[in-house]
Amino acid sequence: MNGPNSAPLDTRVVIGSAVLRNPTIAASGCYNRGAEFGAIVDVSRYGAVTLKSITRHPRLGNDMPRIATTPAGMLNAIGLQGPGIEYFLTHEAPKLTSVPTAVIASVAGFTVDEFADVAAAMDGLPNVVAIELDVSCPNVDREGECFAAEATSLARVVEAVKSRVKLPVIPKLMPNVADLKPIARAAQEAGADAVSLINAVRGMVIDVVRARPMLANRSGGLTGPAIRPIAVHAIWEVAQTITIPIIGIGGVEKGSDALEFLFAGATAIGIGTANFRDPLVHVKVTEAIELEMQRRGASSVGQLTGLAHPGFAGKPGARGAPVATKETQA
């Protein structure tokens, strides 16, 4: 991709102690263990892959149907199907050595202890460079409200995990809140090394023939291009609030979408649903980012991060200084 006279492009990004070869990360739940994509695309071109969230106990997940299509998106309610941490450690973790790129492990839990225990068990697994916390599960101690819905419960999870784990810890925030800023701030103050945002947006589709919700679980998580503007806004707001890196996720399906995320303040880009439609999406997005770096004379991806913020500092890896955003609606 480099022109004859251009400086070498450094597409690496840094998330705590983890260095990814490029900013594209397969989002949790959309990648399985990689054998499937490995048959179609060179997975070593991914910056990282995130594993499906692992819980303490095995879970069969929700009944069928688990998927519905929506305008420019889809709804899923898999229900955290998985083998549980013990089976994972014995049977699946050893295979991680063959993943040709960095691995981010994902933990889901219903109590603070479950997060801490499962995360601790994943710390130090081969190839695993960071641990993401899927804090959108209903918190059993707090009337089923999600951990990520509220600053103090999120902080408790992050602190508990940080005290047990050496790898970078990345809570994954959800968009279903009135104000993401205090929640992101709480994550940073509790020691998070980065935040991922956004998780799927709560949604529902009703089958009008049967007059019943389409999904067996009734509601599900809305993902895909439909939610991209929600993700861009979340990244923008959080980028003005915290200084740790942001992994922007939600509806990215092409290079310009990833640039929107970078310019809004993301350091790396999570890609979920778009993998289903275009297994080459990581490669294409990385190439588009490289082209944009050349166009703007940026020698590292970090120089693109936050570019759309008025107070953008323009230094490599720096994000714009916090600036108040006018938020008048309609």
Partner: protein, 273 residues
């Protein structure tokens, strides 16, 4: 039930044929898929138009570099495909899924298709003919006007019997009733609505007949990565993924992905819940 390695392919629409009421047979040029596709395999199509999820469709017929898909104009994606222009390009991932296994020795087979389930039977009939297997093909629909694919399937020279729920064509009754009335085969191959498949599996089990069914679920990824399309299978059966059972878990089965572990399952492995 062999699987081939699916590929991401650029393809072109080469013809469109409307089959009233509401069905289409669209032909797509994609040599690699046309050459390697086996019985019950499918493709995952991506069309321009803002769809987040590929459209899975069975590979109906193949001829030279082209294969066809037979589908009903229904929601957004099938409507888009029905109205794509000849010459338009699209991408396909395929051939996807496992395949019907031919009988071990040349014996007698019944191929049963309900509604658009016929789409899974053309390649099978072609292969059985090549393997010198004798076969009855039974195709059912609600009514005569909704019978599709009969003409295409008849081309292999097998006897095709049609059934309609309302008796407006052929045998008045369901595919299952017709199959029960036929000579006992060595193997039943079936694709169609859930209730039909379940009844056929019951029949096959009672009679001790080998039975392979191609199942359908709403797909997310079509690639085996999202676990959105699972079916319950007997614990320990080859196509399922077995986890330890959680203490509070009442459900006692494994799960298999229709898209990647199927779409073809042995009747004896499927748990109907």
């Amino acid at each position: 039930m062999p699987t081939t390695s699916p590929q991401l392919q650029l393809a072109t629409i080469t013809s469109r044929e409307y089959r009233p009421p509401g069905f289409w047979c669209v032909s797509i040029r994609c040599p690699d898929i046309a050459r390697t596709a086996g019985p019950a395999q499918y493709v995952a199509l991506d069309l321009p138009g803002g769809f987040a999820v590929r459209l899975p469709l069975g590979i109906f017929t193949v001829k030279g570099d082209d294969f066809t898909v037979l589908f009903q104009e229904w929601g957004e994606r099938t409507t888009r495909l029905a109205h794509a222009a000849v010459g338009d390009s699209l991408t396909c991932i395929g051939p996807l899924g496992n395949q019907f296994s031919p009988p071990k020795r040349s014996g007698h087979a019944i191929l049963a298709g309900g509604g658009l389930g016929v789409a899974a039977l053309w390649l099978l009939a072609r292969d059985l003919r090549a393997h010198d297997v004798k076969a009855n093909i039974v195709i059912g629909a609600r009514s005569a006007d909704r019978l599709v694919g009969v003409r295409d399937l008849a081309r292999h020279g097998f006897d095709v019997e049609v059934c309609t729920d309302d008796g407006s064509a052929g045998f008045a009754g369901t595919v299952v009733e017709k199959v029960r009335a036929l000579r006992r085969p060595d193997v039943i191959y079936a694709c169609g609505p859930r209730a039909m498949l379940r009844a056929l599996c019951d029949h096959a089990e009672r009679e001790g007949i080998d039975c392979q069914i191609s199942m359908e679920e709403t797909f997310g990824c079509s690639l085996g990565t999202c676990w959105g399309c699972v079916v319950p299978v007997r614990r320990g059966s080859a196509q399922g993924t077995s986890y330890p059972r959680a203490s509070e878990e009442a459900r006692d089965y494994d799960l298999a992905r229709v898209c990647a572990d199927g779409t073809v399952f042995h009747a004896k492995d499927v748990v109907w819940v």
